[in-house]
C-alpha cells in the first residue's frame, strides 16, 4: 500500500468515525437533519454515476426518489393500521372500496425492501431501454426526463384516493416493530443511514474502478469512438441509469423514514433539478463530493430559507450559474487528490504525455 493510499484510508476511517459519533455531539435537531441529508446524498451519488461519469443529465431523478419513498410509505401505512382498519384513513374518506393489490403486496416487509430497490431500477431500465436504444441523449434526454418528473408528480396529485394526493403519505408509526418516534430508534436510524451511505460509496467506487466504469467514461467522452471499438454503449447507459435510479429510490425511502413524509412536492420538476445541484456543488464526478454537496447545499437551504425565504431562491439560482461557469468541478475540484482523477504522472512520464 502506497503512503498516499494509507493517508486516504486513515482519513476515510476518521471521517466515518466522526460521522458515527455524531449523536454524541450534535443536538437532536441537527442530528435529524444530518440523517435526512445523508439519505439525500444517495440521490446525488446516483447522479454522479449517470451524469458525472456517464455524461447523461437526468432531470427526473425525483421520479425514482419518489418510487422508493412511496413503496416504503405504503408499507408503513399498512403496518401502522389499527386493528379493524383495512385501509389508510384517506382511502376511506375517498370512498375506496378495497385496498388495491399494488398496496397490498408491500405489506410484507421483505417485499417492501425488494420493492424499494427494484421498482425504481425497473422503471429506469424500461425507460432507458426505450430512449437509449434510439440513441436519444444529451439535451433531449434531459428534457424528456423532466417531462417524466412532471407527469409523475401530476399523476400522484390527481390520484388522491390512491396516493394521498398533494399531502402524500405521512404519519408513520412503526418499522419492523420499532417505534419510529423513539429517540434510541432515531439514533439507530441515523447509524443505519450512515452505514448504507458508506456501503453505497464503496460499491460506487468499485463500479467506477471496474472496466465497466472505464467504458462508461469512454462513452461520456466520445460515444462514437466507443462504438467503433466494438462496444455497444446502450447497455452501459441503461445499467448505469438503473443503478442511479436504485440509489435514488433507496434515498427516497430513507428520506421518508427520517422526515416522516413523502409527497409530490418532494419529487416534481423543481426538486428533481435541485438534486442535480447537490452533485454539481460537490463535484459531479466525485462520489464523496456528492455526499459533501448534498450536506452542504441542504444545510445552507435549511439555515437560509428559515431566516430569509426569498433570498434562498436567489442564492440557489446563483449557485446553478456559478457552478457551471466558475466551478465546473465543484468542491472536489478544489482538492487535487479528490474525485476520480488518475494519480498524477511523475517526472519523465508526465513530460512525455504533455
Amino acid at each position: 500500500m502506497s503512503s498516499s493510499m494509507l493517508i486516504k484510508a486513515v482519513g476515510a476511517a476518521l471521517l466515518v468515525l466522526l460521522a458515527a459519533a455524531a449523536p454524541a455531539y450534535l443536538s437532536s435537531y441537527d442530528l435529524s437533519l444530518t440523517g435526512r441529508f445523508l439519505a439525500l446524498s444517495l440521490t446525488a451519488m446516483g447522479l454522479v454515476l449517470i451524469w458525472g461519469q456517464g455524461g447523461i443529465l437526468s432531470l427526473g431523478q425525483g421520479v425514482f426518489f419518489g418510487l422508493g419513498g412511496y413503496v416504503l410509505a405504503m408499507h408503513l401505512k399498512l403496518v401502522g393500521l389499527e386493528t379493524g382498519e383495512v385501509m389508510p384513513d384517506f382511502m376511506v374518506w375517498s370512498g375506496v372500496k378495497a385496498l388495491p393489490w399494488w398496496w397490498e403486496v408491500f405489506r410484507n416487509p421483505l417485499v417492501m425492501i425488494l420493492g424499494v430497490l427494484i421498482v425504481p431500477a425497473l422503471v429506469a431500465a424500461a425507460f432507458g431501454w426505450l430512449v437509449f436504444r434510439r440513441r436519444i441523449g444529451g439535451v433531449y434526454f434531459a428534457l424528456i426526463t423532466q417531462a417524466l418528473a412532471l407527469a409523475f408528480a401530476t399523476l400522484l396529485i390527481s390520484q388522491q384516493a390512491m396516493t394521498g394526493g398533494f399531502n402524500g403519505l405521512t404519519n408513520y408509526k412503526t418499522l419492523f416493530g420499532f417505534n419510529l418516534n423513539d429517540e434510541t430508534v432515531s439514533h439507530g436510524l441515523y447509524w443505519a443511514t450512515l452505514a448504507i451511505v458508506v456501503v453505497a460509496l464503496i460499491c460506487g467506487t468499485l463500479l467506477l474502478n471496474s472496466s465497466f466504469g472505464k467504458i462508461l467514461r469512454a462513452t461520456r467522452d466520445n460515444t462514437n469512438r466507443v462504438r467503433f471499438l466494438g462496444y455497444d454503449p446502450t447497455p452501459y447507459k441503461i445499467v448505469t441509469f438503473s443503478v442511479a435510479a436504485m440509489f435514488a429510490g433507496l434515498s427516497g425511502a430513507l428520506f421518508a423514514l427520517h422526515a416522516g413524509v413523502i409527497s409530490p412536492a418532494l419529487i416534481g420538476v423543481v426538486p428533481s433539478i435541485e438534486m442535480v445541484i447537490w452533485a454539481a456543488v460537490g463535484g459531479r464526478t466525485s462520489l464523496i463530493g456528492a455526499v459533501a454537496g448534498a450536506l452542504l447545499v441542504n444545510f445552507a437551504k435549511d439555515k437560509i430559507s428559515t431566516e430569509l425565504p426569498a433570498f434562498w431562491l436567489y442564492m440557489l439560482g446563483g449557485m446553478f450559474i456559478l457552478v457551471v461557469t466558475v466551478l465546473p468541478k465543484g468542491l472536489a475540484g478544489m482538492f487535487p487528490e479528490g474525485g476520480f482523477k488518475l494519480p498524477a504522472l511523475s517526472g519523465r512520464a508526465a513530460k512525455a504525455v504533455s
Binding site: 443529465l57 432531470l59 426505450l130 430512449v131 434510439r134 440513441r135 436519444i136 444529451g138 439535451v139 433531449y140 434531459a142 428534457l143 424528456i144 423532466q146 417531462a147 417524466l148 412532471l150 407527469a151 401530476t154 399523476l155 396529485i157 390527481s158 390520484q159 462514437n224 420538476v269 433539478i273 442535480v276 445541484i277 454539481a280 426569498a310 431562491l313 436567489y314 440557489l316 439560482g317 446563483g318 449557485m319 446553478f320 450559474i321 457552478v323 457551471v324 461557469t325 465546473p328
Partner: protein
C-alpha cells in the same frame, strides 16, 4: 360520443397548440442554431405577461393589446439578447451546462417577479371586442381563442418570410446549415446567434401577452407551459420551424383529445408517452434533417 363535443375538443387542441407554437418557436430557433435550450425561456414568457399588464395600465382602450404585444416583443428580445451575451455564449460548447445555468436564471427571474409583482398574480382584462364568441358551423368559438390562433399563424408566417426572403434570414440559414463554412466566408455567426436568440425571446414575450389574456399572470405562469414546449421542440426535430408548428399542433391535439377519455393529469402522461413512442419511430422528430454526420 357527441360530434359537437369532439369538434370542440379539436378546436381546443388547436388553440392550445397555437400557444405551444408561440412558446416553442424561440426555443426551436436557437436550438437549431446553437444546440442549446434556454430553461429561462418560460420566464421570458412570464415577463411578457407582466409587460402586458403594465402596458394596458398605460394604454387603455382598444389599442392596449397591440401596444402590449409590441412592448412584449421588444422587452422579450432585449432580455434574450442580454441572456445570450452574458451566459449562453460563454457555455456555447456545453449544452447541458447551459441547461443548468439558464435554470438558475429562471429561479432568479421567478423570485424577482414575486418580489416585484407579488406571488398571487395579476390579471389583464381582455378588451370588449375579444369577449364574445363566434358561431362557426353550429359551434360557438370564443374570440380569444381564435385571436390566439391568428397571432400564432401570423408569427409563423412572419418568421418564415424573414428567414426565406431577407438578407438576415439568409445569414441565419447559412449559419444553421454549416456554421464553420458560414463563419469562414465571413458571416459573423456570433451576431447571428444573438439575433436569433433575441428574436426567439421576443416571440416568447408575445406568448406571454397571449397567456395574460387567458388567465392571471403569476411568477410561475411560464413554467407551467415550458415543460411541454420543450417536448414540442424535441418532437419537432432539430430547430425546424415547420416541424415545430406541426409538433405543437400534434401535442395540443393529443392532449385535448386524451381529455375526452381521461382527466387532465392522465393526459399529461399520455402526451409524454406519445412523444416517447413517436421518437421510437422517428428519433429525429417530425422534420428530420438529412445528414451523414455522426452527431447532430
Amino acid at each position: 360520443m357527441d360530434i359537437g363535443f369532439l369538434i370542440g375538443q379539436i378546436f381546443n387542441g388547436l388553440s392550445v397548440g397555437s400557444i405551444y407554437i408561440l412558446a416553442a418557436l424561440g426555443l426551436a430557433l436557437s436550438f437549431g442554431l446553437m444546440r442549446v435550450i434556454n430553461m429561462a425561456h418560460g420566464e421570458i414568457v412570464m415577463f411578457g405577461g407582466y409587460v402586458a399588464y403594465l402596458t394596458i395600465k398605460v394604454v387603455p382602450g382598444p389599442l392596449g393589446i397591440p401596444a402590449a404585444m409590441l412592448a412584449a416583443l421588444v422587452v422579450g428580445g432585449v432580455l434574450g439578447a442580454v441572456l445570450e451575451t452574458t451566459i449562453v455564449r460563454r457555455l456555447a460548447e456545453r449544452p447541458l451546462e447551459t441547461l443548468l445555468a439558464t435554470w438558475g436564471v429562471s429561479l432568479i427571474a421567478q423570485q424577482a417577479a414575486r418580489d416585484l409583482f407579488g406571488a398571487t398574480g395579476v390579471s389583464v382584462t381582455a378588451p370588449p371586442w375579444m369577449a364574445g364568441a363566434i358561431d362557426i358551423g353550429g359551434q360557438s368559438m370564443p374570440v380569444t381563442r381564435l385571436f390566439i390562433m391568428l397571432v400564432a399563424g401570423l408569427a409563423l408566417g412572419a418568421l418564415a418570410l424573414l428567414l426565406t426572403k431577407t438578407r438576415i434570414g439568409l445569414l441565419v440559414r447559412a449559419a444553421n446549415q454549416d456554421r464553420a463554412t458560414a463563419a469562414a466566408i465571413g458571416v459573423n455567426v456570433r451576431h447571428v446567434d444573438m439575433f436569433v436568440f433575441a428574436l426567439g425571446s421576443g416571440v416568447a414575450g408575445l406568448a406571454g401577452v397571449i397567456l395574460a389574456l387567458l388567465g392571471p399572470v403569476t411568477p410561475t405562469v411560464g413554467q407551467s407551459y415550458i415543460v411541454t414546449a420543450f417536448l414540442v421542440v424535441i418532437l419537432g426535430g432539430l430547430g425546424s420551424i415547420a416541424g415545430t408548428a406541426i409538433a405543437a399542433i400534434l401535442i395540443g391535439l393529443v392532449s385535448a383529445l386524451a381529455q375526452i377519455f381521461v382527466d387532465v393529469s392522465f393526459s399529461t402522461v399520455i402526451t409524454l408517452l406519445f412523444v416517447i413512442l413517436f421518437l421510437q419511430f422517428r428519433p429525429q422528430g417530425v422534420v428530420a434533417v438529412r445528414s451523414r454526420a455522426l452527431d447532430d
